[in-house]
């Protein structure tokens, strides 16, 4: 990369000088930290389920280069190509979400995965960045043309994957989609009156989930009143942070990874807390905050409404997913099965987020002028 000259006019050369390199560095840094954490946390989990010790490590090592490549390829796209790719991704994931309901495997009470050649595909992960880009495009069209058809289209772009995700049920993804779309509509300039109405609707939707989705009920009950049920996972998680203290017990010396079934995915941050301590965890949170805030900042640059909406939507996907995971692990919110972006093991999530951040890198590249229609 050092060898790339300013005047290099190749695709890669132009990419290198226009891409947000600090954001790229932060994302690659997260992937590297994620690799370390999967290597540390997953062998215990693998042995626990009688899989080969390095089962998850091998898969992660296999997928990570492809994920990084996907991010790179996506970041080469023009905004127009990005929209096309997002459309294809949304159609594909919608079909996959329908297929999940038909042929999907049920794991722990939810039907979220389709087995594909030894891997399980979680289509809802891919729907999120695709929805963010397409909803941004539809909202931009609406704002520019004043045609309410685009507004309805934007809502459809949101409501179709949301509905397909919610019935699985995958409450976590539904909540993230709602938050992302809500943020985009808010930024697009919806009246505060209606924004309030939407907030109410979202809250009552969550209330319905609490009333009618049993595992949501149970999770929320246990969060509000820890004495009401088994809080084993969250107790273990908090104790891991306490045991790690400032500098941690040292790599490999933690024991929570042997005690929690999701130590390599949903609770990987607790493993980091136990073995590497507070300082390392603050660094990880700081990188996440940097990625999210940096992406938002780039959305503010004078790139036009589409860039603003799509980039902030992608930042919200990444940020809300990170915050939901960190909040669950730290008992700030009810336990929610969601991976920590780029850190957790999980092929679908890794790929989907790599594509999403690839879109974000593509859309935030320096351009001579706004390229809403490029």
């Amino acid at each position: 990369m050092i060898g790339i000259q300013r005047g290099d006019n190749t695709v890669v050369g132009r990419w290198w000088w226009t891409v947000d390199r600090s954001l790229l560095a932060a994302l690659l840094g997260l992937m590297a930290i994620g690799l370390i954490m999967v290597i540390i946390a997953s062998p215990s989990v693998a042995e626990r389920i009688d899989a080969p010790t390095f089962h998850f490590v091998k898969r992660h090592l296999l997928l990570l280069p492809f994920a990084a490549a996907a991010m790179f390829v996506c970041s080469l796209m023009t905004p127009r190509q990005t929209r096309m790719a997002a459309l294809a991704l949304l159609v594909g994931s919608a079909i996959a979400l329908v297929a999940t309901q038909v042929i999907g495997v049920e794991i722990k009470g939810a039907r979220r995965w389709i087995p594909i050649g030894g891997f399980s595909l979680q289509a809802s992960e891919f729907a999120k960045p695709a929805m963010a880009v397409l909803a941004a495009w539809m909202l931009t069209q609406f704002r520019q043309r004043g045609d309410s058809g685009y507004l309805i289209a934007a809502f459809l772009v949101f409501i179709i994957p949301f509905g397909l995700t919610a019935v699985q049920p995958d409450v976590g993804s539904s909540v993230v989609m709602t938050a992302v779309f809500g943020a985009q509509v808010f930024i697009a300039g919806i009246s505060l009156w209606f924004a309030g109405l939407m907030g109410m609707a979202a809250l009552s939707g969550f209330g319905l989930a609490y009333l009618y989705v049993p595992h949501v009920t149970s999770r929320v009950d246990r969060f509000l009143d820890p004495a009401s049920g088994d809080t084993y996972q969250i107790d273990m998680s908090l104790n891991a942070f306490r045991a790690g203290g400032l500098i941690g017990k040292g790599p490999g010396d933690g024991i929570i990874k042997g005690a929690l079934p999701d130590a390599h995915s949903d609770f990987i941050f607790a493993v980091a807390g136990e073995e590497f301590g507070l300082i390392a965890c603050v660094v990880i949170v700081a990188i996440f905050a940097f990625v999210v805030l940096r992406t938002f900042y780039r959305a503010l640059s004078d790139g036009g409404l589409f860039i603003m909406l799509s980039v902030s939507g992608l930042a919200a996907v990444f940020g809300s997913q990170a915050l939901v995971n960190l909040g669950s692990t730290l008992a700030l919110i009810p336990t929610k099965g969601m991976t920590l972006p780029f850190i957790s093991y999980g092929g679908s999530s890794l790929f989907a987020l790599a594509i999403g951040m690839g879109f974000a890198l593509a859309l935030t590249r320096k351009r001579l002028g706004p390229e809403d229609d490029a």
Binding site: I255, A259, E274, L278
Partner: protein, 601 residues
């Protein structure tokens, strides 16, 4: 964006691109949609008066700020959880690497014999415990743990692991190999504690002296109990007066005598008469202090210090010493032993009645009960009680074990009591009491409290004179005559001149009087009698008569041979060259005055 209210229900009008310089869209020349779809509701969702991008910027800033605040909250919670949050019910912070196990702060002090041999020592050991909440699979873990620790069975371990407890012991005091094997299981729910374990390398040899500790190292018997705090605090080992070589011999011989006469118990005490150091103290049956849990209550009972017995004729030495010391009689004073004494319901008679007048010397040699009673009559009950008191026979001893028996003395010391106590009935004391008293009477006449601790060399300060040196010499003379001419012949050995006194007591049966068939056969001896160094008591509990002892199970037949064997085996070890039959030292002049300097008092 604050001006939305007035436009909420305003007619929807298309946002003007001309008014939106920020939206430089549609420059691509693509066809505009021909028809425009409007929501049927006349609600203005997106007020369009302002530059959409300007509104977007400020709202994006708000969104961004919300995320920033959320990350700040996560960071604060992270700091709180890592540094300040109290641990939850499941504690993890103790399960660190095993090398971090702390050594016990200070090992309990060793107990050594007088030559420095180990009687009790403490070893640092590991114990295995478990934290049930951390055990993932109790069934599998129990199976693996039981495989390593053969004393446990899997079902019991599983039950322990499934208890709703924070902490359970699985097994105390495991071996390093077992520790290693358990670590290799990789079970995070197992934990290990560094502890100390009390070990008694001599097994049962000095069990009643050392006593033992519980699994936590707290003394619960013997010196371990009496000196519990001392042993925990001191760094130097505690050195006893015991000589394990002699202890071994005494135990062998007492056991042999017990086996020979099918006795229920036995006592052997060997004491230095000068400073009252206890060189050997055996109570049989005994037990292995390494595993006291399996011992019977009888085996754990210390007959030497806790058991009180009516010792019988050995008391006659005290009776004689009292009369001699008071000047009421000499060795040749005659006493009427022609007829048994009748007093109230009681009759005092002799075992081998000679039915004639006996000198004091003859009373002792033939062990005449009637004669002893007559000797006691010279001084009366008060003087007898006073004399026994000065010999320490009426109060609990203060030797260094926890098990100390209180003498059973008559509350009102009547004439009858005086007569029976004269020949050893009516006052029950421990064997240690008697040994201590005889040591005082033969060492020149000074009473020193018996001890189990090695005394600083040559320090004979203190002590109370109980009889004169002359009386002490007379007692030694009497003891020698008893062995040469009297009931103690079986204790005589060609190697050393021995003095002694037999005792055969019928055991008291509570209020029902005495059991003629349950006897205590004892022999108290002093050797070498020409220059006494040690007092040795052997007492055999309930010996059964044998054909080759002519149906006798008396002190002379049961205990005296054991005394002889012990002296022959032990005396050379403790630095006494044999004194053969022709040795001039054997020619002990009658009433030879104590030659050793009186300064020893």
């Amino acid at each position: 964006m604050s001006e939305t209210n007035e436009t909420l229900f305003a007619a929807a009008e298309p946002p003007s691109n001309a008014a939106d310089p920020g939206l430089r869209a549609d420059t691509g020349g693509r066809a505009r949609p021909r028809t425009r779809f409007n929501l049927p509701v006349r609600v203005r969702l997106f007020p369009g008066r302002h530059d959409a991008q300007e509104v977007g910027r400020s709202r994006l800033f708000v969104t961004c700020a919300i995320f920033a605040v959320a990350f700040a909250v996560v960071t604060m919670k992270l700091v709180d959880a890592s540094l300040y949050d109290p641990a939850r019910t499941v504690r993890l912070d103790d399960s660190r690497a095993p090398e971090a196990l702390p050594e016990p702060e200070q090992l309990r002090a060793d107990i050594l014999d007088r030559n420095g041999l180990l009687i009790a020592t403490s070893l640092p050991v590991t114990s295995v415990c478990a934290r049930p909440p951390l055990v993932r699979n109790p069934v599998a873990t129990a199976f693996l743990v039981a495989g390593v620790l053969p004393e446990l069975n899997a079902a019991a371990v599983q039950a322990q692991l499934e208890r709703k407890a924070e902490f359970v012991w699985l097994q105390r005091h495991i071996t390093p190999k077992q520790h290693q094997a358990l670590l290799a299981l990789g079970e995070p729910g197992l934990c290990f504690e560094r502890e100390q374990r009390r070990v008694y390398p001599q097994s049962g040899l000095a069990a009643h002296v050392s006593g033992f500790t519980d699994v936590d190292g707290v003394g619960i018997a013997g010196i371990e109990l009496a000196y519990n705090d001392v042993l925990n605090e001191r760094r130097d080992p505690l050195r006893l007066s015991l000589d394990l070589r002699v202890q071994r011999i005494v135990r062998d011989e007492v056991q042999y005598a017990m086996d020979r006469f099918q006795a229920t118990g036995g006592v052997g005490v060997l004491m230095d008469i000068a400073n009252s150091e206890t060189v050997a103290m055996v109570s049989l049956p005994d037990f292995d202090p390494n595993d006291p849990g399996t011992a019977s209550a009888d085996a754990r009972f210390n007959r030497a210090t806790l058991g009180v017995y009516e010792m019988g004729s050995t008391f006659k030495l005290l009776t004689a010493a009292q009369a001699l010391e008071a000047g009421k009689a000499t060795l040749s004073t005659k006493f009427d032993a022609t007829t048994p004494i009748r007093i109230g319901r009681h009759t005092i008679s002799d075992f081998h009645a000679l039915n004639r007048w006996l000198t004091l010397e003859e009373v002792l040699i033939h062990s005449s009960n009637v004669g002893a009673a007559k000797i006691a009559e010279l001084s009366g009950p008060a003087a007898q009680r006073d004399f026994f008191g000065r010999l320490g026979m009426l109060k609990k001893m203060s030797i260094e074990v926890a098990e100390l028996g209180s003498p059973l003395a008559p509350r009102r010391w009547s004439e009858v009591h005086m007569l029976t106590i004269a020949f050893g009935h009516g006052l029950a004391v421990t064997p240690m009491h008697l040994s201590n008293a005889i040591a005082s009477l033969t060492n020149g006449g000074v009473y020193r409290q018996a001890t189990l601790l090695k005394q600083p060399g040559g320090d004979l300060a203190g002590g109370e004179r109980v009889v004169s040196a002359k009386v002490s010499a007379s007692i030694r003379w009497l003891m020698r005559q008893i062995v040469i001419n009297g009931t103690g012949r079986n204790a005589d050995t060609a190697l050393y001149p021995v003095g002694g006194k037999t005792g055969t007591a019928e055991k008291a049966m509570g209020r029902r009087g005495y059991d003629k068939n349950a006897k205590l056969a004892s022999f108290i001896s002093v050797f070498p009698i020409n220059d006494p160094k040690y007092v040795l008591l052997v007492m055999i509990d309930e010996p059964k008569p044998r054909a080759d002892t002519f149906g006798y199970a008396t002190g002379g037949w049961v205990a005296a041979p054991a005394v002889k064997a012990i002296i022959e085996r032990a005396a050379p070890i403790i630095g006494m060259p044999p004194i053969g039959p022709d040795h001039p030292a054997r020619q002990m002049p009658i009433l030879q005055i104590e030659k050793r300097p009186e300064t020893r008092t």
